[in-house]
């Protein structure tokens, strides 16, 4: 079987076919012949056999350019693997460990304390992320009149697990109960599989569970896509605005029309989770704006979109324009269009864009979107929840800039206020997220997890600076981060990054200034910095030179810089107020 046919596997071909593909991928990984953009080390530790599940994970993740190295603990060894500090699991030290177990006891306290013991041991012996499952609360006597007491107990147990662990940054909950409910107990659980292979799940459910597992991996690695780009006619509403007119298109509570309303609801839920929305449509611009601003039934409005490109140009070209406007890579985009020809064109010319295969029936649009894991996050920060407003303000800022005669006028009248502070407890998640998400204005592109940042925050040898920015159009939120290794003898700027939406406003100068002043205050006579070139950070190629640092080597992979701090003179800030 060749690579192209692997890519087409959907999971319903049966496990045996998936297994063969998984073996080929593993061989390619071992011989280093397979090329994948992303890598992850994971482990399965389970009370049942996980080999078939691991096969599905291997194949589906490879289809998304993710190579997964898997450690599968021996069958039934989950207690020993977690409790013994010298176990193979801890020796392998995977980034993410999936602890997949069945409920052993109907006694909630017993089950909770057993799980609690395993989790505590893991947190002590590993620095990785642990994923634990809830238990499927399947009815055991579906036709019985009396309430199913066992099911009620398991539901309580699940609530207990979620409440106890949901806010721990090193633990993620795989809500197996919810996933089985979505799939249907009868279809998900298989006594035959249990009997033949000690796997509680049906072959069909394994594919879905694998996709959920991949969501945990991509969320942890920060691979979630950032932007959803939408077509208009027959995607956001039924009919063609240019032909049917404002009164003729279908959108509203009656059918046809309510399918699109449901779809828009799902899109707005993504918007509220911080996904950036954009429009890429072949239409007359004014027609589309009229629908967005005037149609009484539309849920999506102009304010929801960070970029609206409506013209008669080819869509791949417009897609690149959207990416430029929002300042993201096309590989952060998911595209939805009802027209198979448009989808095909994007797939061919911009394969980095994830183009969703949409069903012909619009009543299934919302479900198709909801069943993708492309936007899933391990957590939501305040920035995520406000991102929509932030981008709307950014559009206004750009309009304002066009009305200003010079850049200086614009910067002066923005009334910017910069605040720089050491990271507090509430900054940890955002700081980690910035290292995960920032690609362009990022000098070293070192990715850190919450756990990494939390550890740095407690380490006296590290200083974490976060930078917030407000201006007359609103609060930009936390948009800058520096991680400085501040040892007694030497200071090194390990990470320096800015969110791309504040580039070109001299905010970065303020952060450098603060670090240099702190270093000088601490008695350091110089400070070092690094630049690691990537495919995406060309923007900052000469940044350290511009900031008064001197190159110390010419290594193409990691360029070292340093700056003298004797008689340090802070620069003047003409446009910023620094608090």
């Amino acid at each position: 079987m060749d690579w192209e046919s692997f890519k087409k596997l959907k999971g319903d071909e049966g496990w045996l076919v998936i297994r063969r593909a998984a073996k080929a991928i593993q061989d390619a990984l071992r011989q280093k012949t397979g090329k994948f953009k992303h890598q992850a080390d994971i482990a399965f530790v389970s009370s049942y056999t996980t080999d078939p599940l691991a096969d599905y994970v291997q194949v589906f993740s490879a289809q998304n350019d993710l190579a997964v190295n898997q450690y599968i603990a021996p069958y039934g060894q989950f207690n020993q693997e977690l409790l013994n500090p010298q176990s193979e699991l801890y020796r392998t030290s995977p980034r993410i460990t999936f602890l997949l177990i069945e409920a052993e006891s109907d006694a909630i306290d017993e089950q909770m304390s057993h799980l609690g013991g395993l989790v505590d041991a893991f947190l002590k012996n590993s620095t990785g992320i642990l994923v634990i499952n809830t238990f499927p609360a399947c009815p055991s006597w579906p036709l019985n009149v009396l309430p199913d007491q066992r099911r009620i107990l398991i539901e309580k147990l699940n609530t207990g697990i979620i409440e106890r662990y949901q806010s721990n940054p090193r633990i993620q909950i795989l809500d197996l109960d919810a996933l089985v409910a979505y799939f249907g107990c009868q279809n998900a659980m298989s006594p035959q599989m249990m009997s033949m292979a000690r796997i509680p799940f049906s072959e069909a459910f394994l594919g879905m569970l694998a996709r959920r597992i991949i969501s945990h991996i991509t969320a942890t690695l920060g691979l979630a896509r950032k932007c959803l780009v939408l077509d208009c006619d027959n995607t956001l509403w039924g009919g063609i605005i240019g032909e049917d007119g404002l009164d003729g298109i279908q959108i509203g509570h009656d059918s046809p029309g309510r399918e699109y309303l449901e779809f828009q609801k799902a899109i707005i839920e993504l918007y509220e989770q911080g996904v950036i929305l954009a429009i890429n449509s072949k239409n007359n611009y004014d027609d589309v704006m009229q629908v967005l601003n005037k149609h009484p039934q539309m849920l999506l409005r102009e304010k929801h979109f960070a970029s609206i490109i409506v013209n008669w140009e080819p869509k791949p070209q417009n897609m690149q324009k959207i990416a430029e406007q929002i300042n993201i890579g096309v590989d952060s985009i998911v595209f939805i269009d009802d027209n198979p020809a448009e989808r095909q064109m994007i797939r061919q010319l911009l394969p980095q864009v994830e183009t969703l295969e949409m069903p012909a029936d619009p009543s299934l649009f919302a479900r198709t979107l909801r069943e993708t894991g492309f936007f899933t996050r391990a957590y939501l920060t305040d920035e995520d929840k406000n991102r929509g407003h932030i981008y709307a303000a950014q559009r206004k800022r750009e309009q304002f800039q066009q009305s200003c005669a010079t850049l200086e006028d614009f910067l002066k009248s923005l009334e910017m206020v910069v605040s720089i502070r050491p990271a507090g407890k509430n900054d940890i998640k955002r700081a980690a997220q910035l290292t995960q998400r920032t690609n362009q204005f990022n000098l070293t592109t070192r990715r850190y997890t919450d756990a990494d940042i939390a550890a740095m925050a407690q380490n006296p040898n590290w200083r974490i600076y976060v930078l917030g920015l407000k201006d007359k159009f609103g609060d930009n939120g936390t948009v800058g981060l520096a991680l400085v290794e501040a040892k007694a003898k030497h200071w090194r700027i390990d990470t320096f990054l800015m969110s791309c939406r504040v580039i070109g406003r001299q905010v970065e100068d303020a952060l450098i200034d603060r670090i240099c002043r702190d270093a000088a205050k601490a008695g350091r006579t110089s400070i070092s910095a690094e630049y690691i070139p990537t495919a995406k950070n060309n923007l900052v190629i000469g940044f350290w030179d511009k900031m008064g640092f001197e190159k110390e080597n010419v290594d193409a992979k990691l360029v070292r810089y340093s700056r003298q701090l004797k008689n340090y003179q802070p620069p003047k800030f003409l446009y910023l107020k620094i608090v």
């Binding site: 063969r20 073996k23 078939p52």
Partner: protein
């Protein structure tokens, strides 16, 4: 016909050169105990039958599988 459909399953699942009735768990590369479970699932789906575990353990050769399928009244052909 049963043999043709069986051949398709075997070619999708294992690296084999020739499909013959002599193939068995002892001489097909990759046909191990785990793959055997997958094979039973594939047979169930393809021939729309349910194979109980006691029978599944016995179906370790192509000739045995063909004989078993012939005896299944439910096996549509």
């Amino acid at each position: 016909m049963i043999k043709d459909r069986l051949e398709t399953i075997f070619r999708q699942s294992f690296e084999i050169e020739q499909f013959t009735e002599d193939l068995s768990i002892d001489n097909v590369h990759g046909w191990d105990s785990m793959a055997h479970v997958g094979l039973i699932l594939a047979l169930q789906k393809e021939f729309a039958i349910s194979i109980p575990p006691v029978d599944a353990i016995e179906l370790t050769s192509v000739s045995g599988i063909i004989k078993y399928l012939m005896n299944q009244r439910g096996a549509s052909d």
